[in-house]
């Protein structure tokens, strides 16, 4: 039975040993759920800011924003796990990878361990910066241009801007760590060479990183950041 620390320190060995036992999705699911819950808390805090922006519009709007932010962040992580595995699974077919989807899902789930740390640090950063954000208050839904302008003001608030920059950098660092684990996961789950597994994993991950970097410079908020 491999130790959990091996996922971090020796993922190649960890997944090689895991391949000897039956597929076990429970622990990876727990890891993903923990990531989702922490991310949802951050999402809830972000939703609270947005709800304050809509407070002047009318009763009920704030609650809708809060629930949708929480649920969006939580299910976003689950979707990222399943859809991400699907993308990697399909890409590995280019290199004639073999092995079931469930095994790939299990190993990619193990690779979410760094994302737990990322979510925790992201939450701490949010707790530090969000109270300093000045939230614009919308008075009406009549004019879309006014709404867009208010959202832009929220996203370009100095505190919000710093939060987004820090969380983006942290997200990049931890996604690279996860990618490192996912390479070994895909290598064993889909029986690929290390080089091919690296290509399969790094292509989508680099696209994701580029999108985050673009977000920082363009000012458009990216999903999950």
């Amino acid at each position: 039975m491999p130790k959990i620390t091996d996922v971090i320190l020796s993922p190649d060995t960890f997944f090689a040993e895991k391949m000897q036992s039956a597929e076990e999705i429970r622990f990876p699911l727990i890891i993903v759920l923990i990531t989702g819950i922490i991310g949802a808390i951050t999402g809830y805090m972000m939703g609270e800011l947005t709800a304050r922006m809509f407070a002047g519009v009318g009763a009920g709007m704030g609650e809708i924003v809060l629930v949708s932010s929480f649920a969006g962040a939580f299910f976003g992580v689950l979707l990222m796990w399943i859809a991400g595995t699907g993308i990697l699974y399909l890409l590995s077919m280019v290199f004639k990878g073999t092995g079931g989807f469930k095994r790939a899902l299990e190993f990619i789930g193990w690779g979410f361990i760094p994302q737990v740390f990322s979510a925790i640090i992201g939450l701490l950063v949010a707790l530090y910066y969000f109270p300093m954000v000045q939230v614009p208050v919308l008075r009406s839904f009549q004019d879309p241009a006014v709404m867009q302008s208010a959202i832009n003001h929220l996203m370009n608030d100095p505190s919000m801007l710093q939060y987004r920059q820090i969380s983006s950098i942290i997200s990049i660092i931890f996604i690279l760590w996860s990618a490192s684990i996912w390479i070994f996961g895909m290598k064993h789950a889909r029986k690929l060479s290390t080089k091919n597994a690296a290509i399969v994993v790094l292509v989508p991950v680099l696209i994701y990183i580029i999108s985050i970097v673009y977000t920082i410079f363009s000012g458009i908020p990216a999903p999950g950041v």
Partner: protein, 387 residues
């Protein structure tokens, strides 16, 4: 005795009648034709028109009176001149004018002669005597009516009503009739479309007002049509219409601009708007325009009317992204309802939150991130080395 008296009375009456008849016979015999013709004279001359233009057609009527008691036989009456053309000669046949009667001889003439004074001759030939010659003064003058611009604005502005006044004078020695002023040309609306004056006597003038509302540049042509007798004549005056800003029009000027911004990003601009023109500005409305987005509570600020040199304070609210200046738009109307727009650019650099450049990250955070990157880099390096 009684019978003698009656016979005597009849004889007396007879004698009286014989003497009376004898006296009458002796009188008619003494009036000769020369004497009778001498009683004929021209008592009235009427010219229509009184003064001709060169080429005008008209009539000359001569009233002839027989001041005697005997009828005078006329062989023929003629009217002639080398310069003034007489159309036809309707009095060639013999006629007579009874004692104490009048007869009018009317001739149609055409003044085919240059400016000047002419004396065509009216002549009556008597059957039993000589003739009567009577020169008639006919004046030919080509001076047209004078048309001058009495009043017009310094500049025309599109859509703005302006009054134009013409002074029409008659320098001729006769009156003209049927005087009408019409306006020709495009690019403007004229009220009234024409102006009827009627008769304009000699050395008199009349003022004709028009209201012009131009929509574009062009020439305003005033045609003055009139008749001299039965002859139509025309003179005109052209006024070029060039559209420029009126020198007197209202001119709202925005000043004393103060800015402040709310935490929600709403920018407030307050200031004064002063009418620096010479005419009142009506329905003055102030708002911000693109790229600014006007928002409540002062999307637009209605100042209302502003008299010359009058001012009013205003406030507008808007949001704006990625801009350093915002146009403040002042719209107003003149007394004719024409809409005007003035734009003032306001600098709001200090009031717009920066979009992409926040304050730099604090050093501890940078240190923490670097540390985190180093640790994770080490873990990744270790995990790859250990495989």
């Amino acid at each position: 005795m009684k019978s003698f008296n009656f016979i005597g009375l009849i004889l007396l009456i007879s004698v009286i009648l014989v003497f009376t008849a004898s006296a009458a016979t002796s009188t008619s015999v003494t009036t000769d034709p020369q004497t009778a013709a001498g009683q004929i004279s021209v008592t009235k001359v009427t010219l229509d028109p009184e003064v001709f233009y060169e080429g005008d057609k008209g009539t000359i009527a001569l009233e002839v009176t027989n001041n005697g008691v005997d009828s005078v036989a006329i062989h023929r009456a003629t009217f002639y001149d080398n310069n003034i053309e007489v159309v036809g000669n309707p009095y060639e046949a013999s006629t007579s004018i009874g004692g104490g009667n009048k007869q009018t001889f009317t001739y149609t003439v055409v003044a085919d002669a240059p400016e000047g004074i002419y004396y065509p001759v009216f002549s009556i030939s008597f059957r039993d005597a000589g003739s009567l010659r009577y020169p008639v003064k006919v004046q030919v003058e080509n001076a047209p009516l004078s048309v001058s611009l009495l009043e017009k604005p310094d500049t025309f502005s599109a859509g703005k009503k302006e009054q134009v006044k013409l002074l029409i004078g008659n320098p001729r020695d006769d009156s003209v009739n049927g005087l009408t002023v019409t306006v020709q040309g495009g690019g403007f609306d004229v009220v009234p479309s024409s102006y009827f004056v009627g008769t304009l006597d000699s050395d008199r003038s009349v003022i004709v007002p028009f209201t012009i509302t131009p929509s574009g540049p062009g020439d305003l042509v005033f045609n003055v049509n009139y008749k001299n007798g039965i002859n139509p004549h025309e003179t005109s005056l052209t006024v070029p219409v060039t559209l420029l800003d009126s020198k007197k029009q209202a001119r709202p000027v925005v000043s004393n601009i103060q800015e402040k911004s709310d935490p929600d990003g709403t920018i407030h601009i307050t200031g004064d708007v002063t009418n620096a023109g010479l005419e009142p500005a009506k329905a003055v409305i102030i708002t911000s325009s693109s790229p600014a987005v006007p928002v409540d509570p002062y999307k637009s600020y209605v100042v209302g009317g502003l008299e010359p040199d009058d001012f009013s304070s205003f406030e507008v609210t808007f949001t704006a992204d990625n801009v350093t200046t915002v146009p403040i738009q002042v719209t107003y109307r003149d007394s004719d309802g024409n809409l005007y727009t003035e734009i003032s650019i306001v600098d709001i650099t200090s009031k717009i939150p920066s979009k992409t450049t926040g304050s730099p990250l604090p050093l501890p955070i940078i240190g923490l991130i670097i540390g985190l990157a180093v640790v994770i880099g080490g873990v990744i390096w270790y995990s790859w080395r250990k495989r």
